[in-house]
């Protein structure tokens, strides 16, 4: 491979929601050069590709920053980094105005105020949110964008992250990028578990199938501390299309009903996000499925608007209605739970960061879905984290130099050695399917009603290690293969850490998200704690940390 060295002030890995906003903030508030390294194309990369349905994190009328933190804490059964959530709450409305100023359509009432959809959500046309963001970064002179480059690992020197390595998916180049600060903004991880539709439509999932947990993977391998992997996110979605349901649930206030027409959620307890899911899973198991969002009876006009809303974020759902000559007014919308994702933007999995979005590795920052500790950040929370990281970096790198270390071919050979591996028995596709199956069956996937036990995790753990070993002998013919091989390696590392986190939480805190069959109850006496881990030499070392309050000042010491 042709080796290319690039130097920049700030390297942003992942040109998605958080990454773009971070780059933009650096460019607008300093004179530093920023390089965004993006696996695909910023115009539609990441979670925002098809559009989103609302700004789901916003301090609406009657709400305060503090009440937002209270809500997130309660919905998450106490295991949140209140300091982080609070810092996000403080920025939500500011970044909302910013994205509006860049061109996002937001619904306003006669008085010019944003129109709420529920307490903490506002109505937008989110179809083009990513093109708008992409246009903003592209037009900044000090931001360079390197597309079709998949970053694989950090470059470390003296326990400090001084850059990252990746390769081009378009040609035969290997990039060694050095920077004064590195921001990881690669999103969360889909495809760890067997998905809802594992056959032809295997990628018809809720979370982006192209967010493979690369940022987690490189962090784990580099020894970064991770938190909350066991708080998996499992979404309640429209069956088959896996389109979001909030639009309907909040938009037309549709209730969840079972096949008998009974509203069932309240039977199970308070309607937290995970309880709405758990209740649905249980109703099904007990033979009262399918469960639905009760839409029959919405007006023709409401149906029309629902079609539009879905076209603007999950067009498959609109097509499904249309080609089957039905729609929400005449047919309730069946719902189901997705496979578990690891995603710090909805739940709490990710890098253990401080309030400046510094990770435990000096020089490395994390923002967005890849950063842990603060659930329910959604799009705007990711923006805020990108912004906070940017501001911190601007302060920190004023007097910093780019490292002049050079890598040897032997330092990078492990990345492209797959080209020289002989064609073997198995392929990355088989390894990925095997991983998804073992996680599904032995680490609480859909087929298990999301439950797991210590005995099953042991089997999963052994198998994931075998697959990691087998992945080492995969063979690549072109850069596309190489990309897919690294995708599966990253996913395997996420799986490996996840299993140990699931094992460590010897209670059941969030039904479905983390349902430990050996310990079916919540145990506040022992587990009002974060489960954290650091990977070292093949081993995941798990430990617990005490909760951090909303006004605590938590800073990493290096």
């Amino acid at each position: 491979m042709e080796r290319v060295r690039l130097d920049t002030d700030v390297l942003v890995i992942g040109g998605g929601t958080a990454g773009c906003f971070c780059a933009l903030t650096v460019a607008e508030h300093s004179s530093f050069e920023v390089l965004i390294a993006e696996k695909a194309f910023v115009k539609r990369s990441g979670c925002l590709a098809a559009g989103v349905n609302a700004i789901n994190a916003y301090i609406g009328k009657g709400e305060t920053e503090a009440s937002f933190v209270d809500y997130v804490k309660k919905d998450s059964e106490g295991i949140v980094r209140e300091d982080l959530v609070f810092s996000i709450a403080k920025g939500l409305n500011r970044v909302t105005r910013k994205i509006e100023s860049l061109g996002l359509t937001i619904l306003k009432d006669e008085k010019g105020e944003y129109v709420g959809r529920g307490k903490r959500s506002i109505k937008i046309n989110g179809e083009n949110i990513k093109p708008i963001l992409a246009e903003a970064v592209t037009s900044k002179e000090r931001i360079s964008i390197l597309e079709r480059v998949q970053i694989v690992d950090y470059i470390l020197a003296n326990d400090e992250v001084i850059g990252a390595i990746g390769f081009s998916l378009a040609d035969n180049k290997l990039y060694e990028i050095f920077a004064k600060a590195v921001v990881c903004a690669t999103g969360g991880a889909a495809g760890i578990y067997k998905p809802n539709n594992p056959q032809f439509s295997r990628h018809k999932m809720w979370y982006s199938p192209f967010n493979t947990g690369a940022g987690y993977g490189m962090g784990i391998r580099a020894g970064a501390e991770m938190t909350g992997f066991e708080m998996r996110f499992i979404a309640l979605r429209c069956k088959d299309t896996i389109a979001p349901t909030g639009t309907i649930a909040q938009g037309v206030k549709a209730e969840q009903v079972n096949s008998k027409g009974e509203a069932y959620v309240s039977k199970y307890g308070k309607a937290t996000t995970y309880m709405r899911l758990y209740a649905t899973v249980r109703e099904n198991m007990e033979g009262r499925g399918p469960c639905y969002l009760k839409t029959v009876g919405v007006t023709e006009d409401q149906e029309k608007e629902l079609f539009k809303a879905y076209l603007n974020m999950a067009p498959a759902q609109a097509l499904k209605w249309a080609e089957n000559h039905t729609g929400p007014s005449s047919e309730n919308v069946e719902i189901e739970g997705t496979e578990p994702y690891i995603v710090g933007g909805h739940t709490a999995s990710g890098y253990w960061i401080d309030n400046n979005r510094k990770t435990t590795l000096k020089g490395l920052y994390a923002a967005g879905d890849v950063a842990g500790g603060s659930p329910k950040k959604y799009v705007t929370g990711c923006f805020v984290e990108g912004e906070i990281a940017a501001q911190s970096i601007i302060r920190e790198i004023q007097n910093k130099e780019i490292s002049d270390i050079h890598l040897d071919e032997k330092d990078v050979a492990y990345i492209h050695k797959f080209y020289s591996n002989k064609e073997g028995s198995y392929t990355y596709e088989e390894i990925e399917e095997a991983m998804q199956k073992v996680m599904d069956e032995y680490a609480g996937g859909i087929s298990q009603g999301y439950g797991y036990s210590s005995d099953k995790l042991k089997i999963a753990s052994k198998r994931i290690d075998e697959l990691i070993e087998l992945s080492d002998s995969l063979s690549a013919n072109d850069s596309n293969d190489l990309g897919k091989i690294w995708d599966v390696i990253d996913r395997l590392f996420v799986a490996k850490v996840l299993i140990q986190h699931l094992e460590a939480r010897k209670e059941t805190r969030w039904r479905c998200y983390q349902e430990n069959k050996d310990y079916p109850d919540k145990d506040d006496n022992h587990f009002l704690k974060y489960v954290n881990s650091i990977y070292k030499e093949g081993k995941v070392n798990v430990f617990y940390r005490e909760l951090i309050g909303r006004d605590d000042i938590y800073e990493h010491k290096y």
Binding site: K39, A40, F41, K43, R44, S45, G46, A49, A50, N53, A54, T105, L107, V115, R117, K123, I124, N125, G126, E127, N128, E147, R148, L169, N197, Q199, F200, S201, R202, H203, K204, M205, S208, P209, F210, D240, T241, T247, I248, Q250, G251, Q302, E305, L306, F307, K308, A309, L311, N312, P315, A316, A318, L319, K320, A322, E323, N324, H325, N480, G483
Partner: protein, 117 residues
């Protein structure tokens, strides 16, 4: 074996289907896919190597100036032979939802209009 032949012979799959007759090799759709799935074939026409890897975001379709790309729902997720087209007219997107008999439902989503839900 079906899978192979269909890929080689351009049969239509779930996810997107590219009509090579309509494609003018402009390359716009190559540079927008979040999965980096589309590239040029020998003639520079758009080609999706693994249709099963498509997320269904319709990003590529919105880029295409000639309407060469359509989106199909997999049969495993309730598809029924229909498909979706979308054309970007700057102020609005025009969506065509087509059932298997060719019956079309047209929806315009104006960019200035927020979702009501």
């Amino acid at each position: 074996m079906f899978f192979i032949e269909s890929l080689l012979e351009g049969m239509i799959f779930m996810s997107i289907s590219i009509n090579k007759d309509k494609c003018v090799s402009c390359g716009r759709c190559f540079s927008v896919c979040p999965g980096n799935l589309i590239s040029g074939d020998r003639d520079g026409k758009a080609d999706i190597k693994c249709p099963r890897d498509c997320w269904g975001c319709t990003g590529c379709i919105k880029e295409c100036p000639t309407g060469a790309i359509e989106f199909y729902l997999g049969l495993d997720i309730g598809g029924n032979g229909g498909h979706l087209e979308v054309c970007d007219y700057k102020e609005f997107l025009q969506w065509k939802l087509v059932d298997r008999c060719g019956e079309v439902k047209v929806v315009r989503t104006y960019k200035e209009d927020a979702n009501r839900y």
